[in-house]
């Protein structure tokens, strides 16, 4: 789970009760994260490599960005049945999955090569690296530090 560390005190837990509730949410999220299967992770990793090559796009020069997004896609694939984009806020994830607009590769990516997750970057992008490959170990390393 992403740390809430900040140089200022957390304003969102002013009393013990909400913190407790939040811990419950975090535990659930953590459990969901732990439930992300290696199978889905491998599927999304392979998909990402193939799609980068086919679309002539490149992974981020900072590979941890790539790793985290792939992890997010795998989580959504496990939980929702489809790799919903992890870099958006949804009111109803199940409805979004059914509609398909933001299932990876999302419509903006398919139509205009716009990936705001920075998973697939066109060569001219400032953040684009040279790679179209990433290993399962890289993904696990980058996503285990939460």
């Amino acid at each position: 789970m992403m740390s809430m560390a900040s140089t200022t005190a957390s304003p969102f837990c002013p009393s013990p009760m909400p913190r407790g509730r939040k811990c419950t949410v975090r535990v659930q999220a953590g459990a969901a994260g732990a439930d992300a299967s290696d199978k889905s992770l491998e599927i999304m990793r392979k998909f990402s490599e193939q799609y980068a090559r086919r679309s002539n796009t490149f992974f981020c020069s900072e590979k941890s960005v790539t790793a985290v997004v792939i992890k997010g896609l795998a989580d959504h694939k496990d939980q929702l049945g489809a790799p919903l984009c992890p870099c958006r806020h949804y009111d109803d994830k199940a409805a979004e999955v059914a509609q398909g607009f933001w299932n990876c590769p999302c419509v903006p990516m398919r139509e205009r090569k716009e990936c705001h997750c920075m998973l697939f970057l066109t060569p001219d992008n400032d953040f684009a690296g040279q790679d179209q490959a990433i290993t399962l170990e890289e993904i696990k390393d980058a996503t285990s530090k939460i």
Binding site: M1, M2, M4, S6, T7, T8, S10, P11, F12, C13, P14, S15, M17, P18, K22, V25, R26, A29, G33, C60, E62, S64, V65, T66, A67, V68, V69, K71, G72, L73, D75, P86, C87, R88, H89, D91, H116, C117, M118, L119, F127, T143, I146
Partner: protein
């Protein structure tokens, strides 16, 4: 022959019963909670609104679906009623670019300590707040001054973009 009234009427109930009808004393609020929080002390006006919420269980304005969360209330105190500009970063666990923006916001929080406040909000933990501000793409950074949203920066941009927006908020605020 007149009937003799031999039976006396039942005696009146003991006076102590009437004293038992007094209203129960109102329950005392837990110490250190609610109105006594440091934030409430700092913003007396906010304390009244906050206390009203606690007592009457009023839904917060920032929970359009009626969810009553402390965070929505804290939001009102820490963001809307802040005396200096506030920066909020909306993030999610598996959003890769959010890691990059985290680092930028952490640097900014140190460099502008005392002049602005910086917070992060996990949209999975607090979806109502994200929804009420129409957050769609993550990461999104919002800036507030005097309780009003002044800037919305979406995506991963160079630090200079955030600094420019902050400087504008600060200079406007100091006029």
């Amino acid at each position: 022959m007149a009937a003799t009234a031999t039976a006396c009427p039942a005696p009146p109930p003991p006076r102590s019963l009437y004293r038992g009808v007094a209203l129960a004393a109102p329950g005392r609020r837990r110490a250190g909670y609610g109105a006594s929080s440091s934030a409430a002390r700092r913003w007396p006006g906010c304390r009244r609104r906050w206390a009203a919420h606690r007592i009457r269980t009023v839904s917060c304005a920032y929970s359009p679906r009626g969810a009553k969360t402390i965070t929505a209330c804290s939001w009102n105190e820490y963001v809307i009623c802040s005396d200096i500009p506030v920066l909020i970063e909306f993030w999610a666990s598996w959003c890769g670019p959010c890691r990059m923006v985290h680092r930028i916001v952490d640097e900014i929080a140190q460099e502008y300590a005392g002049r602005i406040k910086c917070y992060k909000l996990d949209t999975d933990d607090y979806p109502q707040v994200a929804t009420s501000y129409s957050i769609e793409r993550i990461p999104t950074v919002l800036l507030f001054k005097d309780g009003e949203k002044t800037h919305s920066i979406t995506g991963t941009l160079p630090k200079a973009v955030y600094v420019r927006a902050i400087e504008k908020s600060i200079s406007d605020s100091e006029q």
